[in-house]
Subunit: 418 residues, 3 copies
């Protein structure tokens, strides 16, 4: 008996430690997004995007602690309307966190909160790149407050908090939908209201590439995200402290890696076929597309199938980026394609290996999450536009966001003037 | 009985593994400091600061192994004077390490040494940035030998080795004082002897900003430090292998993250209020200030209080940087403010949540550590100045440290001449 | 009994988790190689080397899964000729992986595969830097297919798969030979067929340094590798879940760190003595040389001896780089010296601390691995040369690989023209 208690304690400790390390890996993805985006924009907009990425992580941490966690995991009104029990009493997840208490049976509550809070920041990071190079910094930060405190947690509750999408059998293991497509939907709403960057599209429909200023940074960002994704998917198993769970986490690591590998190869070959060159940015987007593809279901596919799922994601992302440009939807880093379009693919790919998934359930999840996040975001972006404006002036855009918003240059010695 | 032995073994293994991973995260902070500092200096001084950061980590590792660890944790003469038992016999922590032996009861001795040795490097990294752009490379490296082998371990012994500060009830969980303020005190002594960079302060008291050459690097460095801090504070709990300890480590992770988040938001708003712009470097310093603030006590505050403690640190760091510039104390990366001034705040903030802390104990620790490190460093810097000189000539400073000390350029293709 | 089963399960889980985290650290080394190499080449060849590094990791993952893992660990014909049981039936390691099955007794099969697959990528990354700035991208990627699927696994089988080198008592704990020297041997074969970069060597034997474009990146890459090496060596103990294994892993961490530290200091002092300057790139190569030196035996040396072994590696690497340049073997990043020459030193250094090692066994391993990898690679490079050509034209080399192969610039705003 004493031995069994001691074993339970160690299992609790191991699961908690695994959760914390997984969370630290996901936190590290914030650096990945920051480097990816900073590498893919022009030097005159680099300080601003770095500031956004640091600030959004801080905002996400605070807002999710104060409001979002409770919306997602507190007592709910029903399976659609989450609770607001921090106002009304009842089981109050936020209060537990704010008090720092811990009485969870299987692993530490706090380690769960830590793992959840870094996910919110990931969703918000996705928005950051798509609206780059033309949105006012504070317009973005105000949106971040609403997105991380309210919009994200509501649909998170629908699935992971036990709401109606969970009841309807919608499957989304680590968040191709709840995190990635949700982030992309919010980004799309912003991009549509914002319009493309000056000079991106010519009057006769021609697309002018605007090359990123620092591709080693973008590559570093991709490797960081690849690494961090082991925590993102691996930690989403939630437990590791027995043989079955340990095997599951191991398979998730392998599948996550193989999907990324498949995505790189497929995107590289697709881009070479289409453009005649080995396009690095497409290879990077292919890696990320592979990772997004496998995120909805990293456990039931075999590694061979995972490679294939990632590879299809890698093909999709190239065509999606080209198509969005034809539609004059200007997304400087390809976030809507990588996380949104490929996120949908990931949710459908669950059907390939998980017998519990249904087409209806997956489609319901896709529609519900997209509709909610897109429409709620559209309203919020619209209100921000009305009150403080979304976009800098044409002269400011020409001068660069860094001077306008931050008053400093990213590389003052490397670039002369614009 | 057999089962209990096996459980004890696994607990030992889990604690050891947790220590090693925590140590690896702290080692990673060396990369964070290197990138932060390399991003905040001018391109002509970048190779030198990179060389310093790599070399100081190596020197810290060797000196702490050979001398410092034993000063800090070997037999002591009394509670003020540490032992020098590697000369005199007695319990010899260094000999144990050098022999690679391991007979610790709760977790591996070697994992403890690994965790300790990376802390020393952190303290030394703090010095590096403050004396940048004007100090001779080898003057710095000679100081690193004395600091990591002798100055740091003595005050480390006073607190963590069970010396008089520990006996007096001075509380410093993970080292706001022992690591951060100590590093800043050594830096301050060096900066005062060294004087400001040419051109930083005008004849009529005006301050000329000298922008860093690569802000994405500085941002990367900050994210690395933020990530590494989970090991720094989380590992300082020393154990994780039961429910109570696992909960404690989890709360530490959450509090560490929330303090950084609070620091970012507060520093960004403070800087915007003071300067009218969203200053990225202040946001980065705010993150680090939040982290330093919570380092003295990351366990007893609630996450809400941790956010507040970090936020106050974020406000302090902005005012401190401005004030030091008014006093013509030239610290290119703000290290004295971030680690020193905010380190003091962190030590006082222990009083807000830990009932065992006393104002007297905290003040005694602040005064004793600062006085020892500052004065001992001043003497060492002075001796180095007398023997080999601290500062490069005015022409060398104009030409840049990289040509003078290292004979190469950091970005040979991006910058033309100076 | 129930308790003992539960303990066994937790031990299995802890060992698996340790394996997965170690593997994630080794995966992270891919980012380290990418940054190191991107920093040490000229800006006009940076996109191509980034593309290579991302693509080779993807190729290694797929090829090792489909073919290599089974060659290395499946049923073999005899102790020299590995099995091809995925064609012939019999125990089929690849099939197990492809099926995602897991029935290992001590830790998850999949976690083992994950740890192994990232090692292959490391070996391949070594090749990438040495052939930089002149080899066609697709020639390299075709070689990567053969190297990771076939050449590497055969010699991996000889040692780690229980082949004749293992039987002969050849000791190579974590792969100074199997990974590092093997990678360097493949690189050397390529470099000899490829010839030096235009302008590197003058007609009268003079060596013209070609400085790397971004030394902060190279430094970041080195820190990443240093960090990742804790997983590389630490994970190679294979188990951690009891006191003895936990102590072993701890000692490996300490020795790995100390060897790197010794390498930095020795290389820095050697370079300063030879060149009169504190050469950053030599300090970085010194760190890596220290790490390679200790990789063949990170467990039996004391930390003091590990420091010395690393320091000798640091001296060797400086002389080796100078010597190779005298021989007009042009290796832009020093990979052949760091991983090959120092790899041999690491294999011999096993004799200093491990009583089970024999000079004959170590020499046999060095000769067998080098001969196999070098000759097999030579044949493959030769075939690629005959079919598609290895090297870009002189004009293309002048223009830069990035335009030729990838159609984009790494830093479009920082560099004007060539």
């Amino acid at each position: 008996m004493e031995a069994l208690n001691a074993i339970t304690e160690i299992g609790y400790a191991l699961d908690t430690f695994y959760f914390l390390i997984s969370g630290a890996f996901v936190m590290w993805m914030a650096a990945g997004f920051a480097m990816l985006e900073a590498g893919l924009v022009r030097s005159k907009n680099t300080v601003e995007i770095l500031t956004k990425n640091v600030a959004l992580f801080a905002i996400a941490s605070v807002m999710y602690m104060v409001v979002g966690y409770n919306i997602m995991y507190g007592d709910s009104v029903n399976s659609v309307i989450p609770g607001l029990s921090f106002f009304l009493g009842g089981d109050n997840a936020t209060a537990d966190v704010l008090a720092g208490g811990d009485d969870a049976p299987y692993y530490s509550n706090m380690s769960d909160f830590f793992f959840q809070v870094v996910f919110v920041a990931t969703a918000m990071s996705i928005v950051s790149g798509a609206v780059a190079e033309r949105m006012k910094l504070y317009a973005f930060l105000v949106f971040a407050i609403v997105m991380t405190g309210f919009i994200y947690p509501v649909q998170g509750f629908w699935k992971w908090g036990g709401g109606f999408l969970d009841e309807a059998g919608f499957l989304d293991f680590a968040g191709s939908g709840v995190v990635h497509m949700a982030g992309a939907a919010a980004a799309l709403a912003g991009v549509l209201l914002l319009g493309p960057r000056k000079g991106k599209y010519g009057p006769n429909g021609e697309v002018h590439p605007i090359p990123g200023a620092n591709l080693p940074l973008a590559t570093l960002g991709t490797f960081i995200l690849w690494m961090g994704w082991f925590g993102f998917n691996g930690g989403s198993e939630l437990k590791i402290a027995n043989v079955e769970e340990a095997n599951a986490v191991s398979l998730i690591f392998v599948n996550t890696n193989m999907a990324a590998a498949g995505g790189v190869i497929a995107a590289l070959l697709t881009a070479r076929t289409l453009f005649g060159k080995s396009d690095l940015t497409m290879a990077l987007n292919g890696a990320l597309a592979g990772l997004v593809s496998i995120t909805a279901e990293p456990l039931t596919p075999t590694p061979g199938l995972a490679t294939l799922i990632g590879a299809i994601g890698g093909v999709i992302v190239v065509f999606s980026i080209v198509t969005l440009d034809k539609m004059k939807i200007d997304d400087p880093v390809g976030a809507i394609s990588v996380h949104g379009v490929v996120g949908v693919w990931g949710l459908l790919a669950v059907l390939l290996s998980n017998g519990d998934a249904t087409l209806g359930g997956q489609l319901l999840g896709i529609v519900a999450i997209f509709a909610w996040v897109f429409l709620a975001s559209l309203v919020v972006w619209f209100v921000i536009k009305a009150i403080m404006g979304l976009r800098v002036t044409e002269e400011e855009e020409y001068e660069g966001m860094d001077q306008v918003d931050c008053g400093m240059e990213a590389y003052p010695e490397f670039t002369s003037g614009k």
